[in-house]
């Protein structure tokens, strides 16, 4: 298969409200940084791929229509991608596929969310006609599955708080992060308000405005770059129904199958040994141990032990979310692309203060819907 590489990345300063910019301006803030980082000129971009989560979040149906000019798609192919929270990952993978198929030489992938234009909690709680009007809110969907994980593997209560402390402290090293909390402690997390028992306030992602962009190029474009690129070793996407009888919400089959396909395609036999850093989609702290198992880094019931051992901190055996992850910045549509971009930044050696020393191979991961869509890639310093 043809090779593809990330030539450069860009992201916005993520905040609760970016009322200083329009949706177009938000996207361009990320795009302009990615163009500079990749040393790419607009004339070199062959196509644009736009990702965004549900249109109900901003109340703009098909925002790609009015954004086409601003995101540089005039006169070029423009594709819109939508796979709920995993959309940022899926957007990067669609752009990669366009390169690998030999259709284009350089593709711009951009994803955004401007949550402050409405209220995501409201938008995610619209009642479908045939379920009882129970009203659990956004975190209420995932909290019972976290409870199931804790029960299944008898995980101790402090694991979720440990992840929150680690990610928020990591976020303090990331100038673009929405939440930067260097002084957070295990006690302060455990004393924070219980929102959706067993999820506490400090164990929950924020609601952010933000965007992310990456420029992906073919082998010739990568070789022409005078900076380190992130070679895309493998990508994988899998889907399963949100609900079906016997669905394992703790360890969803689509995630397992995507990970198996990813490791095989990347030639990775032991991901825990061979992956140097992972950016995993963790909107609620307990999803770190759950996804460590789902991705096959460790076996069932071993995820919380890896987290508890401290090995997922920067400097540990498998640093997870050195950027601070979704727990620090959550512009939903962009959150997946941020994971993919951050993994690329690590192997390009451009992650600044949250750089993991010697990161040569990295994982970017996203999931969306009710643990329905999974997208992931492996990037490396070498092709």
């Amino acid at each position: 298969m043809r090779r593809a590489a990330v030539l450069g990345t860009g992201q916005t300063h993520h905040r609760t409200r970016r009322t200083d910019v329009s949706m177009a301006g938000l996207c361009r803030e990320a795009i302009d940084r990615a163009m500079t980082d990749s040393g790419t000129d607009w004339s070199q971009i062959d196509a644009v791929v736009l990702g965004k989560a549900p249109d109900l979040f901003e109340g703009v149906m098909m925002p790609e229509l009015f954004l086409a000019d601003a995101i540089g798609a005039a006169g070029k192919p423009l594709l819109r991608v939508h796979t709920a929270g995993s959309v940022g990952g899926a957007t990067a993978i669609v752009a990669t596929s366009l390169i690998r198929a030999g259709v284009h030489r350089r593709v711009l992938a951009v994803a955004f969310e401007k949550q402050s234009e409405s209220n995501a909690m409201w938008a995610l709680s619209i009642q479908p006609p045939f379920t009882a009007p129970i009203g659990a809110g956004a975190g209420g969907y995932f909290a019972p599955h976290i409870r199931s994980y804790i029960r299944r593997f008898e995980a101790p209560d402090h694991i979720g708080a440990m992840v929150a402390v680690k990610d928020r402290q990591n976020g303090a090293l990331n100038p673009f992060a929405h939440l930067r909390q260097p002084d957070i402690t295990l006690d302060s997390v455990r004393e924070s308000r219980m929102l959706w028992d067993p999820i506490r306030y400090d164990e929950t992602c924020p609601s952010s405005d933000g965007a992310c962009a990456v420029v992906i190029g073919d082998e010739a474009a990568a070789n022409a770059s005078d900076r380190q690129v992130a070679w895309i070793k493998a990508t994988a996407m899998r889907t399963e129904p949100t609900f079906y009888s016997g669905k394992d919400h703790v360890n969803p089959r689509a995630g397992v199958e995507a990970a198996n396909a990813l490791w095989t395609a990347a030639g990775i036999k032991d991901p825990l040994d061979e992956i140097d850093v992972a950016e995993i989609y963790v909107p609620f702290s307990w999803f770190e141990p759950m996804w460590l198992e789902n991705l096959g880094f460790v076996g069932p019931g071993q995820g919380w032990k890896l987290t508890e051992s401290g090995e997922t901190r920067i400097g540990g055996r498998l640093p997870v979310n050195p950027s601070g992850g979704v727990l620090c910045s959550n512009p939903i549509g962009a959150s997946g692309l941020l994971r993919f971009a951050e993994s690329a930044m690590q192997v390009m050696g451009r992650a600044g203060e949250h750089q993991v020393a010697g990161a040569a191979t990295a994982l970017g991961h996203a999931y969306g819907g009710g643990s329905q869509f999974f997208s992931m890639w492996v990037v490396g310093q070498q092709p």
């Binding site: 329009s22 177009a24 379920t131 009203g135 659990a136 019972p144 199931s148 029960r151 009888s245 016997g246």
Partner: protein, 307 residues
């Protein structure tokens, strides 16, 4: 059903100047590198990709380029009587603006007609500050608005009303609810009983045999909702649980009330509390919530595969 929200629009530097201009009774266009003036202005030049910074005044008077007639205006449209939607090129602009033209009769609107902005008496920095257009070749009356701070954000209320047509399975399920019964349907391939009945998500086939299921079951897992949020119907804290009804192979989400939220357990046996029969309709709302039955808890193994 209705869905409604007052969305906001952060305007950014260019549209902020455009909306502030409307409030002050001016129409601004944006000049792109090729010299063309766009109304409304574009934020980024589609040819050079640079931000547009050159904003110029255009006339509130222009020419109808094309139009269509609206015989029965809809909710939220600028006029409640029949009107024309028109593409209007304002004098000094190179692009057309879509707006309503207030005109008595379809026979009076035509391509080439000269129209002018009819300003709203109170303007706030919103596209509706131009109430509509009307025939005329000189600017219309305009009330003075004391200039204020630049307009940076705009509110756009959105209202959606829709009807859902029920499928055969939904229809059967809702009619059973109206009789105080809960039914499921068995997938002919995997033999699992789905409540509510649906096309099997695993096998993709239409459901078969109709099966009565109990209005009692087991709490598989749950969360305690402590957080208040927009549109909430109960005061927190309360418990939302996954309830595996006896005879069903997939849990339904529902409220578990009638005890302290902290006392709800995985495996707890619960039963539906139906509303008064006089209130029943073809809706899941007939079941108010679930309450503990007092039976011994179900063994973990009995529901572990439904987590």
């Amino acid at each position: 059903m209705s869905i409604a929200f007052d969305y906001t629009r952060s305007l950014g530097p260019v549209l902020s100047r455009f909306m502030t201009g409307l409030r002050d009774g001016r129409v601004l266009g944006g000049r792109t590198a090729d010299g063309r003036v766009h109304v409304p202005p574009l934020e980024f030049d589609p040819l050079t990709h640079e931000p547009v910074t050159d904003l110029v005044d255009v006339s509130p008077v222009g020419t109808v380029i094309s139009w269509t007639w609206v015989d029965q205006p809809l909710e939220g449209q600028p006029l409640s009587r029949p009107f024309a939607w028109a593409l209007i090129r304002l004098d000094g602009a190179d692009t057309a603006l879509l707006h309503a033209v207030d005109i008595q009769d379809q026979d009076q609107i035509r391509t080439g007609l000269r129209v002018r902005a009819k300003w709203s008496p109170s303007r706030i920095g919103h596209i509706n500050d131009i109430a509509c257009f009307e025939p005329g070749s000189t600017p219309g009356d305009i009330s003075d608005m004391s200039p204020g701070e630049p307009v940076k954000i705009m509110t756009t209320p959105i209202r959606l009303h829709y009807r859902h047509t029920t499928s055969d399975e939904e229809d059967r399920y809702l009619r059973a609810l109206a009789d105080g019964r809960l039914i499921g349907q068995r997938c002919p391939a995997c033999r699992k009983v789905y409540v509510p009945p649906r096309v099997c998500p695993a096998d993709g086939v239409a459901p078969g045999e109709v099966v009565d299921v109990a209005d009692r079951g087991t709490v598989t897992t749950f969360c305690v909702v402590n957080v208040p949020f927009a549109g909430q119907r109960l005061d927190p804290p309360y418990v939302v649980a996954q309830v595996l009804l006896d005879g069903a192979d997939i849990p339904i989400p529902h409220l578990v009330l009638g005890l302290d939220a902290g006392d709800v357990r995985m495996g707890m046996r619960v039963a539906a509390v139906w509303r008064d029969r006089s209130e029943w309709a073809a809706t899941p709302v007939n079941i108010a919530h679930f309450e503990p039955t007092g039976e011994p808890d179900a063994a973990y193994e009995s529901y572990a595969e439904h987590l």
